[in-house]
Amino acid sequence: MKNRLLDSDRPTPNPRGQGRGAGARALGLAMAGLAAALLLGAEAEARNVRLGLLTSATGPAAATGEDQKRAVSLAREEINAGGCVFVKDRNAKVQLDLFIGDDQTSREGAVSGVTKLIVEDKVDLVFGGLGSAFGMAALPLIREHVVPYIPTPSTPLFTRTPEMGPDPSKAMVFHYQATGLMYGAAIADFLVGEVKSVMAPDKTLRVAWLYQDSPFGAEFFRGFSDRLKEANHPVEVVATERFKVGETDYRPQLTKIKALAPHALVPMGFRGETVAMLQQAVLDVGLDPKRIHLGPVCACADDPLYYKDLGKIGQSTTIMSLYSTYAIPKGPAFARWARFRDAYQKKFGVLPGLLGVSAYDAVYIAARAVELAGSLDRAKIIEALGKLQMEQLVLPVRGGKVRFDPKHREVEFFLFAQQMFWDEKLGELRPVIIWPAELGEARYRHPS
């Protein structure tokens, strides 16, 4: 059957006429080609550094996502104002552009957010995040496109999963966050170093744990118990009670712990959980802070609401931190921390949190990596990150130098312990750094 449209025997009526059309089309194509060439060329000349922040812009964690967005916008301003980023390839100082990928506080959101960053925004590097599960969900796409990735959630799995590719040196994930394992180990060292001498000078220190029944909580406890074995600490773990994420009633577990009479209780959970645990421990179950040390609690609790909600019963409790809402470790290396905090507070009217700070630092690390790489080529940036060494930014690192260790591409952070004291004037608790000695301004004080 003949198809009139496809049948080329008879010319189809064309009001514009074929002859004139052909010339117009040829001209159009030529112009398009020229424009494309110009644009591409222009791109190659004036393209900025494109960084992609993958964080929770919406969803239950949006408040923390806001913190990260604010901190990175501050970093970007500072870098662009202070000389931009020198890219050797182009022999030019190039500005920093930031793109936001929203993980919507979910795994599916993380996948779509990172897709947008990599495919649409064509970023040179992805960083940030606050939920380990969501950051991990983005990994397959990161690996597929071989994009440098500096995640800031805490799970060690980012860089410790076996399937990181055959050539470890080409692995593209560089973890910039203290892991639960690090915290747990520091808690062990602190309890033995500072608390034992007061609570149990010549006996084994009896410690109870009440922690979140989740991979997050399990990491902390594992870090603690591994460190006990490794350092042969004189500690006996008398209880390992757990609670489900979002629990509000800790009384049965606390009652059991009280009956076992430990010297210290480590209550590990999110901020809201920690506040409830401590209040129920002291007020409802009647744990006496003079007879049992409460803490150190998880660094994730350290934000202004914690100090407000906890109230007087938080007096003398401790917290193991990487960043403090109110205190700053002593020493010249921390001048930068003070400047950052003041700038953030001045610009946004609120105080920054740990995850905001982590993202802020990550921007600077990314900028330095680009400079080291001398190019915007992703593979070169990855290589540069592996070799990078720079001065401590805001978060404290051992030896004062930020570097990603060759084996796990993690940073050796310098954790510190703070103790809470009631400030009558402010009507709130305020922290004092008490450990280790290099960073602290006081020693542990046992309530009398």
Binding site: R242, K244, D249, T255, L260, G272
Partner: protein, 294 residues
Amino acid sequence: MILDPGVLLQVLIWGLVIGSVYMLLATGLTLIFGVMKVINFAHGELMMTGAFLTFLLWHALGLHPYLGVFVSMAGVGLLGIAVERLGFRPLRGTAKINEIFLSIALILILQNALARAFIPYFREYAQIRTPYAHRVFDLGLLNLRYDFAILLGLTWAVMLGLYLLLFRTEFGREMRGTSQNRLAAALMGIDVGRIDTASFGIGAGLAALAGSLYGIINPFSPYSGTLPAIKAFAVIILGGLGSIRGAVLGGLLYGVVEGFATFFLGGAWRDATAFILLLLVLLVRPEGIFRERA
């Protein structure tokens, strides 16, 4: 050392406390079911509306929480009345599934309304603090915070009031009659429509009380009512649908078993216990412990 009588007594008390909350929830649910033959899936959300209302009165107006509790009960009771008249009443006589959908819609509406109103100010959790938050009764074997004693006292006072209402007033007799035989009640001149409205209002008020008391001893969010409500369902199935006696005993039993399970087996078992218990009862005695409706 953990089997010390003082310690076990303490755990028993925690169980009775949360059990009282379950008891209030279950009683309201079973009352609504008994009279209207409707399962109110949004009971947990009414609970949280009550909690937030008490919280708001305390936080914004400084109203003493134990007074706010009664205002909240009245407020949510009125809300319940409105829900019955505008929502369930027009659906009476149509397919049962319509009522289920209405209930579920209420869950979403209430949860999101509460979230919209409160989360920007209080982040994830709120908690009501009474002036007695730090005051404690020294009972020798153990210490009991004032608030816990008040919770137990208030719950039992309200339950006593409910008993008097149901068994010593004419209105209560009408209510019981309606729940036992709706046709007979109508033939005796009882306006069953009004009884429906009243029972939903009372049920909602009890939920609000449960929520307010819960919010005094625990941090809570708009979503905190879901799990207690599900446990309340389990309680009324265990206790017998429509049986208030079953709701009372079942609620307390649940609280105590939950507390001891958490104490002996660990935190992961807290919620599982509720459902394992339900499963066991359904296997052994599906009609519930108290078969007849009282």
